[in-house]
């Protein structure tokens, strides 16, 4: 990824966190809505968790050779 790609990602992040801090109040807030940028953390951690946990399950138990069912 080139530098400007990262800039494209940084702008919406900064804008949305700014709106959470200084914009209108959340109409139906949940406990986590007090944390600015909560979904930044949730999206990133969730994504990493999904990859790591699924891969661990795959390596640990689920993945088999492609001809596993053939014999």
């Amino acid at each position: 990824m080139k530098t400007w790609h990262w800039i494209v990602l940084v702008i919406p992040t900064v804008v949305t966190i700014g709106l959470q801090l200084f914009g209108p109040e959340h109409p139906h807030p949940h406990a986590w809505d007090v944390i600015p940028g909560f979904y930044v953390i949730y999206g990133f951690v969730g994504c990493v968790l999904i990859i790591v946990v699924s891969k661990a399950l795959g390596k640990g138990a689920l993945q088999k050779r492609e001809d596993y069912y053939d014999d």
Binding site: L9, L62, Q63
Partner: protein, 573 residues
């Protein structure tokens, strides 16, 4: 008459007609017939009802209300679009079963009683299996048989529950929510849950869909699970078990999509995941969540058909569908890539695409119902959806190192069908009111609030960042991941062979004993005057001079007998 004509009739009669038409006109006739059925779904108005009797049962062949109207319309619509996508196909069998299958789905949708429901349910199972067999490879034949057996098992569960319902209530009519205290309802739930692909009853789906024909998979992705969602919506709203069943589904599909290598199998696991949202919506059971289920089913059918169409173009033009064999195709299939991406943005819940305006209803409904854990877990599943469908599939199929594949020309009708669906994905995303007016309950819901937009932008942006950092881990691998089909493909082999081998041993011992007895009796009962037969030799022709016993033997016996008789008479004196 026309006001109450079931659209299923048009398609079933149409299937018979298609079977008789020559190949040149058949694809066009398919589209025309599907369009007639679609027009009929639009014409039917709430309250339309068609009844009949069969074998003493009162049947409700058509019963239109606010619940099934929206499902009928989308099933009708997808039949037309899938017909356009399949316009280049000339296989008579495939076209006929596809039409029967669509007829079955529309029959299920408008069925007003359990008998009618079961008939169309089984029609769907058998006809859709035909779309797997039509691929005509050894692998697809085996998968087709597994699919058929699993669905017949599900149909039997449903039948058991239906009979129980008849005994308990004395009628067959589907009158709304079933009572969880009624045990038979749980049998019906299991039968329907199998078609809705709720784990552990889901494994037929990722087993079969990647092995169906390119065009057959479009029908399958739209019809079976969503018709089951409709039945859940009608019979099981507010059943608490479905909330967690749905959440587990949503995440289960995500985990397996990480491990899958075949692009159509990744999409299949994301059907499981997306249907999880709908099932959870049924379980929550509020007017808003049920609206969310219906809306998401409608959106899902569109974007999932679009994604399967894109994957189908890749398979059709390159003959490959595994990530490990694909890569760098974007240069050769630019239009396919961008149409696919519209589907990917939709399923991932990008604002201005149709997934956003329907998925957010269910997530919001969970929030309004104070189910924070459900809400967060469904959001986590959205992260996984974007990760696979929006990033993993396109990056490793259309970008990445050149696989050396040079796709052949794409039939124009395939792109046309994709274009129509892509347009609808954006149309409903930009103008959600067009979809919201079809929903079962009046709705006052605004998807485009600042809070929703912030949530979506942050989640999607940082899913992308996570993907980019770990992308090497997501490349396809030449492995399969075992799922619950392991139990009937492998795990039960020990028990199965134990049962079968033991029974066979006893049975063949019985056969051998029987043959020994029969053989012994046969040797004892043989005609003493027949020519001797030795095993393995041809039966000799009777030759009277050689084989007839000499006359003297008979005469000697007669004389001996007379002498004995005379002696006896003399002795008596």
């Amino acid at each position: 008459m026309i006001e109450t004509l079931p659209p299923a009739f048009i398609l079933i009669v149409g299937a018979v007609l298609l079977a008789c038409l020559p190949g040149r006109v058949r694809p066009t006739a398919f589209i025309v017939l599907a369009a007639l059925a679609f027009a009929q779904t639009l014409r039917l108005s709430d309250g339309a009802r068609l009844t009949s009797t069969y074998a003493g049962f009162d049947l409700v062949l058509l019963n239109v209300d606010q619940f099934n109207r929206i499902f009928g319309i989308i099933f009708g619509l997808i039949g037309v679009v899938a017909g356009i996508y399949a316009w280049h196909v000339r296989s008579r069998g495939e076209q006929v079963v596809a039409m029967l299958y669509a007829g079955g789905a529309l029959g299920v949708t408008y069925a007003g009683d359990f008998m009618t429901l079961l008939f169309y349910w089984e029609l769907m199972a058998v006809a859709s299996a035909g779309l797997i067999f039509a691929r005509n490879t050894g692998e697809s034949r085996a998968a087709g048989f597994r699919y058929l057996l699993v669905h017949l098992f599900g149909g039997s569960l449903l039948l058991g529950g239906i009979i129980w319902h008849q005994i308990e209530y004395g009628h067959m009519e589907m009158l709304g929510r079933l009572d969880p205290q009624f045990t038979g309802a749980w049998l019906i739930l299991l039968g329907v849950a199998l078609n809705a692909a709720i784990p552990p009853l889901h494994s037929w789906l990722p087993d079969a869909y990647p092995r169906a024909t390119v065009t057959g998979a479009i029908f399958m992705s739209a019809l079976t699970t969503k018709s089951a969602v409709y039945v859940l919506l009608r019979l099981f709203p507010g059943w608490e078990i479905l909330v967690w069943g749905g959440v587990i589904m949503a995440l289960y599909g995500v985990v397996y999509a990480v491990l899958a290598n075949d692009i159509r199998q990744i999409l299949a696991y994301h059907i499981v995941s997306q249907v999880g949202y709908m099932v959870a919506g049924v379980g929550i059971g509020t007017a808003l969540s049920l609206n969310g289920t219906a809306a998401h089913a409608y959106s899902h059918i569109l974007y999932k058909a679009l994604l399967f169409m894109g994957a189908g173009v890749v398979l059709h033009t390159t003959g490959k569908s595994k990530l490990t064999e694909l890569g760098g195709l974007g240069r050769y299939l630019p239009l396919t890539l961008w149409l696919f991406m519209i589907g990917a943005f939709s399923i991932s819940g990008f604002p201005l695409f149709n997934g956003f305006i329907s998925k957010s209803i269910i997530v919001s409904a969970a929030g309004y119902d104070h189910r924070e854990a459900v809400m967060l877990l469904l959001l986590l599943a959205s992260v996984g959806t974007f990760l696979h469908t929006g990033l993993k599939i396109p990056v490793f199929t259309f970008w990445g190192p050149d696989s050396g594949l040079r796709p052949k020309a794409v039939p124009r009708n395939m792109h046309l069908a994709m274009g129509v669906v892509a347009f609808l994905c954006i149309f409903y995303g930009v103008y959600p009111a067009a979809l919201y007016q079809l929903l079962p309950y009046p709705i006052d819901y605004q998807p485009y609030t600042l809070a929703h937009l912030i949530e979506a932008v942050q989640l999607l942006t940082f899913t992308f960042v996570g993907f980019w950092i770990l992308r090497s881990k997501l490349a396809g691998e030449s492995f399969i991941a075992i799922d619950t089909d392991w139990f009937y493909r492998r795990g039960l082999r020990g028990i199965g062979s134990g049962l079968v081998t033991a029974v066979n041993t006893i049975f063949s011992a019985g056969v051998r004993a029987r043959e020994a007895v029969v053989g012994f009796v046969a040797t004892q009962a043989v005609n003493p005057y027949a020519p001797p037969v030795s095993p393995g030799q041809p039966v000799p022709v009777f030759n009277e001079n050689e084989h007839r016993p000499p006359v003297g033997r008979a005469l000697a016996l007669t004389v001996v007998f007379l002498l004995l008789l005379a002696g006896l008479l003399l002795a008596r004196g």
